[in-house]
């Protein structure tokens, strides 16, 4: 009980200080009572877990927005996905007698944390977004992340919602099916396939069953794509839920949403996908970029399984706010957009999304190498920063953070002109420099990429610079008239 009191006190104190307390209260409570997660988790009736390398936070936020329509849910936010984050979230819903008032939980859980919490939570569903190379100095190797999730799954009877486009995750799906547990796979429509034209890292490019190289018809991003092994027959299955991005909407085909037409004439459905699904729904997305369409698809797959209808999902997402650092827009002068980057695949998808935005822009990359970022910055060289040089439209690059120089070097060797790179290690000075550059170039938007420990400070710096009635187009016009 003392642990709960201390944890709750910490929560209240942090709130009084205007802080969120996503981690510290849980950390204190765990120190006093290492079994507190069990004590609180036991009081839950059901729990949903989202894990995987990329997209956990956004997928969790998308799920939460819809689940909350039906009632309160315990949710850990802002990527606080270790044990202390889970406990902190539970403490918010616990009274001073140690009673949990909310009985359902939705947790984003770090891959390595999953096996340590799986046994003490009543997990009904686990969503696995994808498995990319991430922070190798923390887990050793990729296979280990897969092993951790497998270990976690085996401690529960949970159903699995899994990404069929990822050959690593596909192994988990196949195992879950063999064990007779419920499972739902999701995948993008082949319309989105890209030929493998860039020399990118493909973490899962080898068959986990027999070790031979996988053949790809094409890629969605990273190692996600339509794959098969010619030696043992391992192949991407037809996903249960298929999504196709059409401007800002996701066209979803799910067995749970048969349209009236499909009831009467099932054969009219066209699974090859010429664009005429009989049982499809169109859902407007509150998030931008193909990688976010994946997150939405993962969320939709589970929500459909839980009995939600497309209009309920749509309603839940109507007032959705993207989580911290996911294409988060700040009304600074000029406008800035903040994105978290943590590994090559995620960074590539963010770069593509940014470079697809109209107009010239300033890029600001904030790289730290604290434990939570990964102390090894090798991954910067696996990320496709060549895109910045090749696709054009980036008028200036400002690199900042503890590894600003490494990032500057990365851009130079990517073929970006060194004369347009400014290296400013101090975060505050770096952010100021990027905004100043955007301003002096005529009000160009500033796109900021930041690693985990740089994200919060940068968000704070940008928030401080938000101007009451900033209008970037006005700023640009004003500037043009002066010069």
């Amino acid at each position: 009980m003392l642990a709960i009191w201390i944890g709750k006190l910490a929560l209240w104190t942090l709130r009084l200080l205007g802080r969120k307390g996503t981690s510290l209260p849980g950390q204190l409570a765990l120190r006093l009572n290492p079994r507190i997660l069990e004590a609180l988790g036991r009081q839950l009736t059901s729990c949903i877990v989202v894990t995987g390398t990329n997209g956990k936070t956004t997928t969790t936020a998308l799920l939460a927005a819809v689940l909350r329509v039906r009632g309160p849910v315990v949710v850990n936010t802002d990527g606080a996905n270790l044990q202390q984050g889970l406990v902190s979230a539970l403490l918010v819903h616990t009274d001073w007698f140690g009673r949990l008032r909310t009985k359902t939980a939705l947790f984003e859980v770090d891959e390595a944390t999953l096996p340590r919490v799986a046994a003490v939570l009543p997990i009904r569903w686990v969503v696995v977004t994808n498995l990319f190379r991430d922070q190798l100095d923390r887990y050793g190797e990729l296979d280990l992340a897969l092993a951790k999730i497998r270990d976690g799954l085996q401690q529960t009877d949970a159903g699995l919602v899994w990404n069929a486009d990822d050959p690593l995750v596909c192994r988990l799906g196949a195992e879950t099916r063999r064990q007779g547990k419920p499972q739902v796979s999701f995948g993008l429509h082949p319309d989105h396939l890209q030929p493998p034209w860039r020399d990118l890292v493909r973490d899962g490019a080898f068959c986990l069953a027999c070790g031979n190289r996988l053949q790809y018809d094409g890629f969605f991003y990273g190692q996600l794509g339509v794959y098969r092994c010619c030696h043992c027959g391992f192949a991407r299955p037809d996903p249960d839920v298929v999504g196709r991005l059409e401007s800002a909407s996701l066209i979803v085909q799910s067995r749970h949403w048969p349209s009236p037409a499909a009831h009467g004439n099932r054969l009219a459905a066209d699974p090859a996908g010429a664009g005429t699904f009989a049982d499809q729904a169109s859902i407007a997305l509150p998030v931008r970029g193909l990688y976010n369409a994946y997150n939405a698809l993962a969320a939709i797959s589970l929500l459909a399984e839980l009995g939600f209808q497309p209009d309920e999902i749509q309603a839940g997402w109507a007032s959705f706010q993207p989580p911290l650092g996911r294409m988060q827009v700040f009304a600074t002068r000029p406008t800035s957009v903040l994105n978290l980057v943590k590994n090559p695949a995620g960074c590539d998808s963010v770069l593509r999304a940014i470079l697809a935005e109209p107009g010239d822009k300033v890029l600001c990359v904030a790289i730290n190498d604290q434990a939570a970022d990964g102390r090894d910055v090798s991954w910067l060289w696996d990320a496709d920063f060549e895109l910045v040089a090749d696709l054009g439209g980036v008028a200036r690059c400002v690199t900042t953070g503890m590894r600003a120089e490494d990032m500057a070097l990365r851009l130079k060797y990517a073929g970006y002109p060194p004369g347009h790179i400014e290296c400013v290690p101090d975060l505050a000075a770096g952010v100021a420099q990027a905004l100043a550059a955007g301003w002096s170039l005529g009000g160009l938007s500033v796109y900021v990429l930041a690693t985990y420990t740089a994200l919060h400070p940068v968000a704070q710096l940008l928030a401080e610079r938000v101007v009451a009635d900033a209008d970037p187009t006005q700023a640009a016009v004003h500037r043009a008239s002066v010069s």
């Binding site: 990729l142 060289w381 696996d382 130079k412």
Partner: protein, 243 residues
Amino acid sequence: MPTPRRRLFIAHLYPDLLNLYADRGNIQTLRRRCEWRGIEVEVAAVSLTDELQLGDYHLVLLGGGSDREQEIVAEALRRRRAEWRAAVNDGLPVLAVCGGYQLLGSYYQLRDGRQVEGLGLLDLVTQAGPTRLIGNIAIDSPEAGRIVGFENHSGRTRHHHQPLGRVIAGHGNNGEDGWEGVRYLNVFGTYIHGPLLPKNPRLADLLLHTALRYAGLPDHLDPLDDRLEWAAHEAFVARRIES
């Protein structure tokens, strides 16, 4: 006198299997530092199914992978052992990093005691240790000065050749004897990645020098504007090694 046309052929071995630690950074560094000097360069990404002709290249790069991937490569490499030995004794420049470095030796002993046989080019053995040796590293190399980067390996390597350098900070070959990497003829083996070459331009140019000489081409290298490279090198030393 006009400079004769110079053209280097570089083989990047099995990038789909051995690319755990951003070997792309090493490739990009070699490629750009040639281009900036008007040296033509072709980098061939050689995969397991390709027929590898060592004689076609002036520099060969071998990176690291996970245990599973490294075993697949070890098996493929062993089939061409005689060819490798001849090429290396003939002076073929080789840069082998992490797992690639281990593969040059006689064997790599896994934690379960099983030995994965390597190329056997060097009198070098590696044993999996109880912990991973992880962290920032700096070494002093007699040929290339201070070399900085990151290491992450569970293997403990021991050999009787010249090391690449002496450890100033970090673990090196085995965390015990204070040595890092290996130098043998034109073979450079090391645990340092991060990647290795961008922040260590002297080492990058030493490799290019070696490759040009092996190719029988004029080996002078015009100086480059390396201010960013040295800024990154020095900042790393100041913030990650000395503090």
